[in-house]
Point group: C2
Chain length 388, copies 2
């Protein structure tokens, strides 16, 4: 295998990549050496950037045959204090466009040769998402615009990563929030992009409207409060021309939902998920000038989101259950299941696949993702091991 | 200064230290090279182990004149699940001794030459604690037992590290929980140690009793529940012979009090304090088989301990205040204040000392410890900076 990878590495035209990505050749060679730019095993030969390298985003993918680059999706900054952040960040715009931030997983879809390929945020080709993208997205768009990449959210219950039922989507659906050029990553302006999607019958995330920069704060607070208890995640606030980078802002309920998930598998995700989300709650409470009752309610919800899922996990383990996350896929081809299984193995995710269940012209496959660290830690503590 | 340190390093008799600590010479040389064994600037020449090196505890101190070793205080393991931990850990004992874990700071007091010296957990000589130790502890003990070290908790409101008022101590007091040999760190058995302290009129931490290993769990649960809302921290459970290492177990109220402190200065301490304490809450809830009402109460208290202090900090900063922790010292000698100021500077702690206030034969000095990271982060977020 080693030989094969080095042969493929030799096939990379460093000069050409350097020109297209606009970074020096030695940066690319260094990244290859450090495995920051790494070959990914799979049906299709790609290299991916595991982390950012100078101006190139992590998740950027290089396809070998045919040669194509798909730039990584840029990280979106988050504001914890809406008003001052909008004023500071968007001072050079008249207005901002506010779109929904949906709760699913970030996918880039591009035409590579004659095939649609779906890349995850990290720059892996997900075989399952690729099957779904081929089903969901009208090819015409790519025939007319082969140089463009659709960036969007894959949302719905049949999601192996972020299964959510509250959008009333039957299986999985794709909502575009960005259209970018393959090589440069340059984005299409907001309204132009939405119009383009409409023309091809491709869904966009919801647009809440365009607002003057000094008024956007009130409008967004109303939007977020208007989500009520629907679990909708938040908004992304954009320069309509897409010159300034966008900013995200999320609801308390979605913060708490994330915490519930993280603390069900506390030893796998608790540490990483916790701190930022707690800070969001505290700053939002101050910005909204909450009274004591509202603040106490927020404390209660925060505490419940952290402790109750952990307590439930410990009790399950005490009863001899294995701690697992249940997800499901729905595919037309059983071959996709096989490929997805290999893909999870490649990512180091431990998962148990149940027998496919035929439903109409599709197969439903239930998967139990095993979070080993939480299983092990809970078991040893229950067995009398010390914490540290 | 560099030259002086290297001269002092040359003075270390590596062969002798190697023999007394029972570790190879090359380990000591390696530790010196890596600065794991480091010279500490101060009135008295000492070297300290910044981290454990093979069997030698972090915080172990080497005095040069006269040459003395004071072993570091060993880390005490914590149980989250009392019953199985006691059974597993103390299976070779008939019974365990249960002593109070007080909420102050861990200090080792030893006679070095003709002076009593107080070392912090990390192996620094704290000039303030040294003055207090000299005041509080009868010298006779050390004249009779110069080879022994008193390990105890410094507790009370006049504490620069952990000021607590709830013990009804006027200034600062010292409670012994261990007596150990200087070179070996070997401990004196529990009842023998307590008797020895009584003989010299030195205070010990409270002994709750000795309990059969299989019954200790109920007794300790009663003790912890009996703390009620007094903020007492917890217990340390010991093999009466001090052959097996002790185990600690703490109350929910003390966990929450720690969290309140940590989240008042969230960007300095929040991350480190959080995870372990949340886990303690979850396991205790399961071990105590709590009903829904008790579990919800626990969630509320947890949420309040995290969010309310953060909210208060953000509001203070919004009002232009500087985020600081107020502590106070009470000394007989103003020279001690000067030395303590130098000492905090050495540790990299930013502190503002107010003018000493004469009270009877002592000086009260108020100190504002500035937690810069929390100040900076809060200020930038309020100013519209993105979270990340």
């Amino acid at each position: 295998m080693r030989r094969v990878v080095s042969e493929l590495t030799n096939k990379l035209d460093i000069g050409k990549i350097s020109g297209l990505l606009d970074i020096p050749e030695h940066s690319i060679k260094g990244a290859l050496k450090r495995k920051t730019l790494q070959y990914v095993y799979g049906k299709q030969d790609i290299f991916r950037f595991d982390k950012p390298v100078s101006s190139v985003e992590g998740g950027t993918a290089l396809f070998l045959e045919p040669f194509e680059i798909v730039r990584g999706f840029p990280k979106i900054s988050r504001t914890l204090m809406l008003y001052p952040a909008l004023i500071k960040h968007f001072s050079s715009c008249d207005k901002v466009a506010v779109e929904e931030k949906m709760n699913g997983y970030n996918v880039r879809v591009a035409l590579i040769g004659d095939k649609l390929v779906a890349l995850t945020r990290g720059g892996f080709i997900c075989p399952y998402t690729t099957e779904k993208a081929n089903d969901l997205i009208v090819r015409d768009f790519f025939y007319d615009h082969p140089e463009l990449v659709l960036c969007g959210e894959m949302v719905g219950p049949d999601s192996p990563y972020v299964p959510k039922t509250f959008y009333n989507i039957e299986s999985l659906d794709f909502f575009v929030f960005d259209v970018r050029e393959k090589n440069s990553g340059n984005p299409v302006p907001v309204m132009e992009r939405r119009k383009l999607m409409d023309e091809y019958g491709i869904k966009s995330v919801r647009l809440f409207g365009e607002f003057g920069v000094r008024k956007a704060h009130d409008a967004i607070t109303d939007i977020i409060k208007g989500f009520g208890d629907t679990l909708r995640e938040g908004v992304v606030i954009k320069d309509p021309k897409m010159i300034l980078p966008p900013v995200k802002y999320t609801s308390s309920l979605s913060n708490c939902a994330d915490l519930k998930y993280a603390f069900e598998f506390y030893n796998d995700f608790g540490r990483d998920f916790f701190f930022g989300r707690v800070c969001r709650e505290a700053f939002q409470s101050v910005e909204w000038d909450e009274n004591e009752e509202s603040a106490l309610k927020r404390c209660q919800e925060l505490g419940k989101s952290i402790l109750l899922p952990m307590i439930s996990t410990i009790k399950k383990k005490k009863n001899g259950e294995r701690i697992a996350e249940n997800v499901q896929l729905r595919v037309k081809s059983l071959e996709t299941i096989k490929e997805f299984e290999d893909y999870l193995r490649l990512l180091g995710i431990d998962a148990v696949f149940e027998q496919p269940e035929k439903i109409r012209n599709e197969f439903l496959v239930r998967i139990r993702k095993i979070h080993q660290s939480t299983n092990d830690k809970t078991e040893t503590i229950l067995g009398g091991q010390m914490w540290s």
